[in-house]
Amino acid sequence: MSVHDAIIQILLIVLPGLILVLMQESNRRSS
């Protein structure tokens, strides 16, 4: 696996994951 492939793979996991986490946690803070 090249470094380029690895970065793409990690971004594909981290970016959507971060958005979903922030969405779930925003609810916890507001409730």
Partner: protein
């Protein structure tokens, strides 16, 4: 699978609202993150006939990753620890039906789990691959599990809908590749 792992994390979060969202999200992708690291190190070739992912994806290793990861939450209730372990183990459950290579029982094991359906999954059907549709079905079931749990936890319906749409959008992006 890709989007289905996000759906699994959401389903677990919906059923165990006290579980930290970041923990289950990271757990759901832990084997893939290990796979990327080992791929970079040249330990797990990711392309062609040399494809090998026993260290990151075998049944025993995923169960162990989950256990080690869950121990980090020992101060939390048992339900949270189990949710965190399950988030990791769900990766195996989702990958075992269709995977580039049948998943090993443990690293370098002769025994493998699965039905060798990768080629079947790559055949086209209704504008996508059969694998895409199988993942769509799995993702739908997990979305129902998430919604059912999230409703009990009184998570606002707009948040539920947005979460499901994001995961669906990620799955739809797979049609472009």
């Amino acid at each position: 699978m890709y989007a289905a792992h996000f759906a699994a994390a959401l389903a677990i979060k919906g059923q165990v609202p006290r579980a930290p969202a970041a923990a289950v999200m990271l757990g759901a992708f832990l084997p893939d993150l290990v796979w990327v690291a080992l791929g970079l190190a040249g330990i797990e070739p990711s392309q062609g006939p040399a494809f090998f992912d026993d260290w990151s994806h075998s049944l025993v290793m995923v169960a162990v990753f989950g256990a080690v990861y869950a121990v980090g939450f020992w101060q939390k209730p048992a339900a949270v620890m189990f949710a965190v372990w399950l988030s990791v183990f769900s990766h195996f459950l989702l990958d075992v039906p269709i995977h580039p290579k049948n998943i090993a029982l443990f690293p370098h094991s002769a025994a493998h789990l699965g039905w060798g359906l990768w080629s079947f999954g790559q055949t086209p059907w209704l504008g996508a691959t059969k694998y895409w549709w199988v993942e769509m079905a799995v993702l739908s079931v997990l979305a129902v599990v998430y919604i059912q749990g999230a409703r009990k936890a009184r998570i606002p319906s707009n948040l539920m809908a947005a979460s499901c749409l994001l995961v669906l959008g990620l799955h739809l992006l797979g049609l472009l590749s």
